[in-house]
């Protein structure tokens, strides 16, 4: 009987406790900087090294390059770059290996759509997805100072 009353006391007190509900769709949910959302891709930075496509555990990235249109410069530039968000697991590995930070994470996470086709994002879309881009990308090859702060 005592246990029952104690339990009743806890629930009664909780009536006035601080509520944990957030008004999410009305007030946008602010994610911390390191949050791994939908990628942002900057075609100009890409050197077509193919590392992101190779490291991707689900093979959701497909890219093709073409010869640099400027005949004086060597190397390739990116032609098409697609991420299939049906299978992307947002594991952060592509941004980790990218040597030029051409592909970076953003804090946007709202991917829901009415058609599966819309989850196939191309170069254009990823380039325009440039809000809330992650500041600290901690990718291999970046200067050490850019890595996460101590403490």
């Amino acid at each position: 009987m005592k246990g029952l009353l104690k339990g009743l006391g806890v629930t009664f007190k909780s009536m006035t406790a601080k509520k944990v509900t957030t008004s999410y769709p009305d007030v946008p949910f602010v994610m911390p900087d390191r949050f791994r959302g939908i990628q942002h891709f900057e075609p100009d930075k890409c050197i077509v090294c193919n590392q992101c496509a190779r490291v991707c555990p689900t093979e959701c990235i497909t890219l093709t390059g073409k010869a640099n249109p400027d005949p004086e410069k060597k190397g390739k530039v990116i032609d098409t770059y697609d991420i299939n968000f049906e299978i992307c697991i947002l594991c952060d590995l592509c941004t980790e290996v990218c040597p030029t930070e051409a592909i970076v994470m953003t804090n946007n996470f709202e991917l829901a759509s009415y058609s599966r086709d819309e989850l196939f994002k191309d170069r254009e879309w990823l380039d325009n997805n440039n809000r809330n881009v992650r500041q600290d990308n901690n990718n291999i090859g970046a200067p050490a100072a850019a890595k996460g702060g101590a403490k």
Partner: protein, 366 residues
């Protein structure tokens, strides 16, 4: 002529209390179970087979998805196995970070268990109380590694991120808060006579049976067997901290319940010590070759996950991909005792016993 027949009842895969897509076919005589046949595999994704085509860094995100309630320990067991094979040195701060997130994860995982177990038993509020506090841990992880459930935080040789500014202080504040909340939980539920009547003496087995079935974690310790890998085979830095391994006596659901609550408290104790001892700065990534190629050979390592002993067996042929990767998944092993426990119990106790074993279907089916 009165004729009685047994009722063949399909519990799951879509049933509110089978914790996902687990299925049990029970033969009922009235409300008493005469036979129980567990059916699993509805969440099978072939993690181990997939891993054979992936290099070790790529496997880490897959381990997140096995025991999705406790992804950090899964991360750790894989990294630990590879590091053991390659004989890598882990920087101290990285090891501390790993330990802190693993213990936080244990608290979070036990909170999920506590909430859902009471939900199974019919009390609604504890679920929301537990998730409020778990949410704080999830937010810590979100801030630390950018995801709320599938962290992909650890890497072979260290961790991906150092703690952001002020993060450790937040965790320091969290520990006393959580200790206070645990008392509140005890007030809310642990003394409740209805609850005690529901779980005392249910799903009882002795130590020998538990060992024979290969149980681990709270399912083993509830019978009084003192076997916690953090103590028995210290890995990571666990030999540096003081903590107790709570043991049960009777081996029933009530003991399992108490052990899990006490383990949460002990995890907080470890956290407190770890947060004091963590070096204030340092590398979080050791010296690791660019391509991780463990030498040819085999290794089996095991650690204590919130659900029991999680093991990782790697056979390497010296390539970047494992030749064979096998996880010893505690949920799967612990589940094997279920049919034995269910015979002769009622339908209501089915839920109590299944919940008490604490399975995560992602891990059962892998």
């Amino acid at each position: 002529m009165i004729r009685t027949e047994e009722l063949l009842l399909n519990v799951g895969p879509q049933h509110p209390s089978t914790h996902g897509v687990f299925r049990i076919i029970v033969k009922l005589d009235g409300e008493v179970i005469t036979e129980a046949i567990p059916v699993m595999g509805y969440l099978h994704r072939g993690t181990e087979k997939l891993a054979e085509d992936l290099n070790f860094t790529q496997i880490i995100p897959y381990t997140d998805r096995m025991d999705y309630v406790s992804a950090m320990t899964n991360n750790y067991v894989l990294c630990h196995a590879v590091e053991t094979m390659m004989g890598l040195e882990i920087p101290e701060r990285a090891e501390f970070m790993r330990l802190i997130v693993m213990e936080l994860q244990r608290v979070a995982s036990h909170l999920v268990w506590w909430g859902t177990y009471l939900l199974d038993i019919g009390a609604m509020s504890p679920f929301l109380y537990a998730f409020r506090d778990r949410e704080m841990i999830i937010d810590f992880f979100n801030e630390l590694c950018g995801a709320r459930l599938t962290y992909n935080y650890m890497r072979v040789g260290g961790v991906k991120w150092d703690a952001p500014e002020g993060w450790l202080d937040k965790v320091r504040d969290f520990v006393p808060y959580m200790e206070k909340k645990l008392d509140e939980y005890n007030n809310l539920v642990s003394g409740n006579e209805i609850f005690l009547a529901r779980i005392k003496g249910i799903g009882q087995y002795d130590a020998q049976t538990a060992i024979d079935y290969g149980l681990s974690g709270a399912n083993l310790r509830c019978t009084g067997v003192d076997w916690d890998l953090r103590r028995a085979e210290p890995y990571s830095l666990y030999n540096r901290f003081e903590f107790d391994v709570p043991l049960g006596k009777t081996g029933d659901c009530y003991d399992r319940y108490l052990i899990r609550l006490e383990e949460t408290r002990q995890s907080l104790r470890i956290l407190k010590q770890a947060l004091e001892q963590i070096p204030s700065s340092g590398e979080v990534m050791g010296k690791v070759p660019r391509v991780i190629r463990p030498p040819a050979g085999e290794v089996y390592v095991r650690i204590e996950s919130p659900r029991g002993e999680i093991g990782c067996h790697i056979i390497s042929k010296g390539k970047a991909e494992p030749y064979r990767l096998k996880f010893r998944r505690p949920s799967f092993v612990n589940l094997q005792i279920l049919p034995k426990l269910l015979v002769g119990e009622t339908m209501t106790n089915l839920i109590t016993i299944l919940g008490g074993i604490d399975i995560v279907v992602g891990e059962v089916d892998a």
